[in-house]
């Protein structure tokens, strides 16, 4: 027996049968076994009882005059979808019992009942009730966390963003999130998923920019066994994994023209064909895509398909960079510190006023992610409980030393630019070197020269 199963006397069972002998006999049998039992002689009587009492399990006779068992089951389940229904049938109407199963019955039992079979059936129903209660409890816990608590900020821009997330979240609309690297595009996707009816189904994230074309195809659409060298087993793609839920396509602007075509077809048809496969598989998903690039500019340059762009750009969510909302910096810093405090089991950690000023003065090229790392570094390496300017990273301290001023020397400008590009490419040195138009060796030398360190999240 499942340890979670409720005591028998907490399980309410309703027995519905037009035959008195069945009501009395089964009712007594279940009551002897310790269950709370009530009986009803008709569908109408059962519905009356169920309107005032929540029953966990119902034994329903299939063949009753006026309202038959199937109709009654339908109405009982409509009023209480978590009710466990068991239909009682004679051998002659097993076909009807099978129909009842298809319409939501947990099981059926044929009259006359074998006591052993009935005993096990009731025990299994009790376990199911326990699992449903647990499921309900977990859902309530999930609902409590569905608020986009990680999207923190008091600025008008953030308030507007949160409003859009709350409005668009519960719909099935495709959302395109635009923001610089580190602004929290995935957090927005998570908040949208968490506030949607799909929240109990998976949110599957794909970082399209990090994968080569062939790998991305296989990741997104799956592959059949033998589709290519190394495809030893069939593989479910991310779209299939996201069935019923949401797929988050990050850095959508980085995908190749070939994958763009395939992606467009999947979005239009809601069917995927695995690489090496022939049969399309129907999938039910919602798309949230994100990019740090200007997709309309990419369309103008012919690097991104216009039809795919319009398919994705249904509702656009802009995440402003942190430098445009400096008022959010102290709020975010306190939020991250509070969270760290809990995970590090430390108390009363806080920033000094000077430290908060220094944080607000920095322009945060790596955005929220960079701020989060700076706070973590201060909490781990600093001198709690009060974290001061000296506990902050060097570049934040520099900003504080020259408030409002941009970097002055050529070397400073170069360092800041390299830092920014590395942040944008998530420390992909090959891509950063391509953006900076230097070779990788040169970039490595510059990284060493300026003592740049790869942040934790990019490792």
């Amino acid at each position: 027996m499942n340890a979670l199963a409720p005591p028998k006397d907490q399980l309410a069972i309703l027995v519905i049968d037009d035959e008195l002998i069945v009501r009395e006999s089964l009712g007594a049998w279940l009551a002897d076994d310790g269950y709370r039992v009530e009986t009803a002689e008709s569908g109408a009587a059962a519905l009356r009882l169920a309107s005032s009492t929540r029953y966990d399990v119902a034994f329903i006779d299939i063949q009753m005059p006026k309202m038959d068992g199937l109709e009654l089951q339908k109405r009982l389940l409509a009023a209480n979808p978590s009710m466990t229904t068991i239909v009682m049938t004679a051998y002659a109407s097993v076909d009807t019992a099978v129909r009842a199963l298809k319409e939501g019955a947990y099981d059926y039992i044929v009259k006359p009942f074998d006591p052993d079979e009935l005993l096990h059936l009731v025990e299994r129903a009790r376990e199911r009730c326990a699992l449903q209660s647990e499921n309900e409890r977990l859902r309530q816990t999930l609902d409590a966390h569905a608020e986009p608590e990680e999207l923190v900020g008091d600025s008008p821009a953030m308030k507007k963003l949160l409003e859009i997330v709350r409005t668009v979240g519960p719909t099935d609309t495709t959302v395109l999130v635009h923001g610089e690297s580190g602004t929290g595009k995935e957090l927005v996707a998570r908040a949208i998923h968490a506030s949607s009816p799909r929240r109990y189904a998976p949110l599957v994230c794909v970082h399209c920019g990090a994968l080569a074309e062939g790998v991305l195809e296989s990741e997104l659409f799956g592959h059949e066994k033998g589709a290519f060298t190394g495809a030893a087993y069939h593989h479910k793609g991310k779209f299939e994994q996201a069935d019923g839920g949401t797929i988050f396509l990050d850095e959508i602007g980085d995908i190749s023209p070939k994958v763009q075509v395939e992606l467009l077809r999947v979005l239009e048809e809601k069917r995927v064909t695995r690489v090496g496969g022939k049969t399309p598989i129907a999938v039910d998903f919602r798309v949230v895509a994100a990019t740090h690039q200007d997709l309309s500019e990419l369309v103008a340059q012919g690097r991104f398909r216009e039809d795919l762009f319009y398919r994705l750009d249904v509702v656009r969510v802009e995440i402003p960079p942190l430098r445009e909302r400096p008022g959010d910096v102290p709020v975010l810093a306190r939020h991250f510190l509070h969270r760290l405090q809990t995970s590090m089991n430390k108390k009363d950690m806080h920033f000094s006023d000077a430290a908060l000023e220094a944080l607000a003065a920095h322009d945060w090229p790596g955005n929220v992610r960079e701020l989060q790392n700076a706070v973590e570094r201060a909490a781990v390496l600093g001198h709690p409980p009060e974290l001061d300017v000296d506990d902050l990273p060097l570049d934040v301290r520099r900003a504080e030393a020259a408030p409002g001023a941009a970097a002055r020397s050529l070397a400073d400008v170069e360092r800041r630019h390299i830092e920014r590009v590395l942040a944008e490419t998530e420390w992909n040195v090959t891509r950063a070197a391509a953006v900076l138009d230097v070779d990788r060796g040169t970039l490595y030398n510059k990284i060493a020269k300026y003592g740049l360190e790869r942040p934790e999240h990019a490792r």
């Binding site: 028998k8 310790g34 039992v37 006359p112 006591p115 052993d116 009935l118």
Partner: protein
């Protein structure tokens, strides 16, 4: 939800042998049951109502009707009747019963048919059959006196749907079940599973 009061003021158990239960078996059963109960147990004359109802299409007596009949024949409110039959018991709703009783009722039924090893193709063993019959009688009398099934595997009120389960479950009333029975029903031999 059933909440009937247990029978109170019971002074004796009357054992009524029915079809197929010979005098020797009835006597042995009476002796064994007397050891387990503090109440006086009496052997009554054979009870053979002429209008016993079989279950349609099965070689079984209808236990529901038989129990009803046994209760109707009840003359003395201070006694509980225990009908013992060799016939297999069933009902239109259940394929078989080892025994049957009603909460707050005045009578219980026990069938020896499925308690006999012969029913399962094993050699006859009268001692084992009697042992099982006593346990089943105590279980059904427990229901009459208001006890539901018990979760304690060592308690005689544990629900059993097979003869193996009867053999495995305890032979006494657990402390909780014993405490819920009226005073003066059980002998020391039937109390406590610890």
């Amino acid at each position: 939800m059933r909440d009937e009061p247990p029978a109170a003021g019971v002074l004796a158990i009357d054992l009524l042998p029915m079809t197929g239960v010979d005098d020797a078996t009835a006597g042995a059963l009476l002796v064994r049951l007397s050891r387990r109960l503090a109440l006086p147990c009496r052997l009554l004359p054979r009870w053979e109502p002429s209008d016993l109802q079989p279950v349609a299409g099965r070689d079984q007596l209808d236990a529901d009707r038989l129990l009803q009949r046994l209760e109707q024949d009840q003359g003395d409110d201070a006694t509980l009747r225990l009908g013992v039959t060799a016939h297999d018991l069933g009902s239109p709703l259940f394929t078989f019963f080892f025994g049957l009783a009603r909460h707050g009722g005045r009578a219980a039924l026990v069938s020896l048919a499925r308690l006999r090893p012969e029913f399962y193709g094993l050699p006859a063993d009268d001692d084992r059959t009697l042992h099982r019959a006593v346990l089943e009688a105590l279980h059904e009398l427990g229901h009459v006196l208001g006890l539901p099934h018990c979760r304690d595997a060592r308690c005689v009120m544990r629900f059993s749907t097979s003869v193996e389960a009867i053999d495995v479950r305890g032979q006494r009333f657990c402390d909780e079940c014993a405490s819920r029975l009226p005073e003066g029903v059980l002998s020391g031999a039937s109390r406590g599973t610890g």
